[in-house]
């Protein structure tokens, strides 16, 4: 099982290729069931086009490491939250230039104030949201008012 886990820790998200499916909290379970390895995953967003690629990548990586009989199951419940992104995942996102989600998704209500998003390049708090949506469903567009660089923010959901 530790081997299978370490294989999954090297399966990268196709759209953010520095964080693995384990870092993102997509892998929700790993178990032996009647002779095959069962992997439980959950989609980040309902329409995330990467979900099917992720499923295939997981299966391929496991087969290549000798886990010939694997089954990948997708489950919606409980719904994925950015709270499941690991600390290591958050650091990798920041190093890649994507500001990690701020705060806990549980506490964010409909009318909540916009979060203080740190610039991943110069750490300034003086940033501005340009658009609620970015290049993928999981990100928003921001700009730093100090170093003037635009950057992606991983939405807190």
């Amino acid at each position: 099982m530790p081997l299978a886990h370490s294989v999954l820790a090297n399966v990268m998200d196709p759209e953010v290729p520095v964080v693995s499916v384990v870092d993102l909290g997509i892998v929700r379970g790993l178990s032996w069931r009647e002779g095959h390895l069962h992997v439980l995953i959950t989609p980040t967003y309902s329409g995330c086009p990467a979900t099917e690629v992720i499923e295939t990548s997981i299966r391929d990586a496991l087969v290549q490491s000798g886990f010939v009989s694997t089954q990948v199951e997708q489950r919606l419940d409980p719904a994925w939250t950015t709270d499941w992104i690991t600390d290591e995942g958050r650091e990798k996102l920041k190093a890649y230039g994507i500001s990690p989600p701020v705060g806990s998704a549980d506490k964010r209500s409909l009318t909540a104030e916009k979060p203080v998003v740190l610039c991943p390049i110069c750490d300034s708090k003086n940033t501005l949201q340009i658009s609620e949506f970015g290049s993928t469903a999981c990100k928003a567009l921001y700009r730093c008012n100090d170093c003037l660089e635009p950057f992606d923010y991983f939405k807190c959901i």
């Binding site: 967003y45 309902s46 995330c48 409909l110 658009s131 609620e132 949506f133 469903a137 567009l141």
Partner: protein
């Protein structure tokens, strides 16, 4: 027109509404007023396609016919078998009309999904919980646009007021709860969605007031009836475009 059991009909209503709203949003590809807005419209559409797939997959499983899956439901039904709410099939108009439709639909989704979390059907709960996170985000954005345009310049105010006026009459269909749905609420299959009209009107009134827009009187029913497949004429045209590939080349894939 084919009718399925009450829960399946309800799943089709949720799934078809998300799908048709997403298809309308896609029509903005290449012509949104700004690049950031285009990204946003497409991303909302993408979330909705995903939600539609979740609802339609469940509907297809309940129908229990091997030949019917979510794709068949989406691409091989004609307008009389579509169950989407009338609001979402209306043409996009200008950006104000698009945002008015999005806002009215988002408020409806927000309250419907909130209530559906209390269903006894686990699958409905799972889809509702997942979708609600995304819809809350959509609603924040669409209500901000209604406010920005309504409480903006003279021109944007006039356009937003016209937009509200042009689609308001379809809200009766959005807010109507059928006897079959009320029965599903009574036996707890669905969470209590019977208060949707009050919940929708109260949130909409609050945002319109903050946007310096007038709140129209509740819309009166007229002859169109989405539950019986009696849609406005624009749905057929929308489906002709959306379904063309699968109709011309059945089972085409890449």
């Amino acid at each position: 027109m084919k009718k399925y059991d009450e829960l399946t009909e309800f799943l089709l209503r949720m799934g078809d509404s998300a799908l048709i709203q997403a298809q309308r949003l896609c029509e903005w590809t290449g012509k949104a007023p700004a690049l950031e807005e285009e990204l946003a419209l497409m991303n909302v559409g993408l979330d909705l396609v995903g939600q539609a797939r979740n609802w339609l997959e469940y509907a297809a499983e309940r129908i229990g016919d091997e030949a019917i899956d979510a794709d068949v439901l989406a691409y091989r039904r004609d307008e009389r078998n579509y169950r989407n709410v009338l609001m979402v099939e209306q043409p996009n108009g200008d950006f104000a009309v698009t945002m008015a439709k999005q806002f009215f639909y988002d408020v409806w989704q927000y309250h419907m999904l909130t209530q559906l979390r209390g269903s006894s059907d686990e699958r409905v709960v799972a889809i509702a919980m997942k979708s609600l996170k995304e819809v809350t985000y959509h609603l924040r954005r669409s209500s901000e646009w209604v406010e920005r345009l309504g409480d903006g310049t003279e021109e944007s105010h006039r356009r937003m007021a016209d937009a509200v006026d042009s689609v308001w009459r379809f809200s009766y269909d959005l807010l109507l709860v059928s006897d079959e749905e009320a029965a599903l609420c009574a036996d707890k299959t669905l969470g209590d969605i019977t208060q949707i009209a009050d919940q929708w009107q109260s949130m909409v009134a609050r945002v319109l007031a903050a946007s310096t827009l007038e709140v129209p009187a509740p819309a009166e029913p007229f002859y169109l009836n989405s539950r019986n497949g009696v849609h406005s004429e624009c749905l057929g045209i929308l489906l002709a475009e959306m379904q063309f590939l699968q109709r011309a080349h059945p089972d085409a894939s890449w």
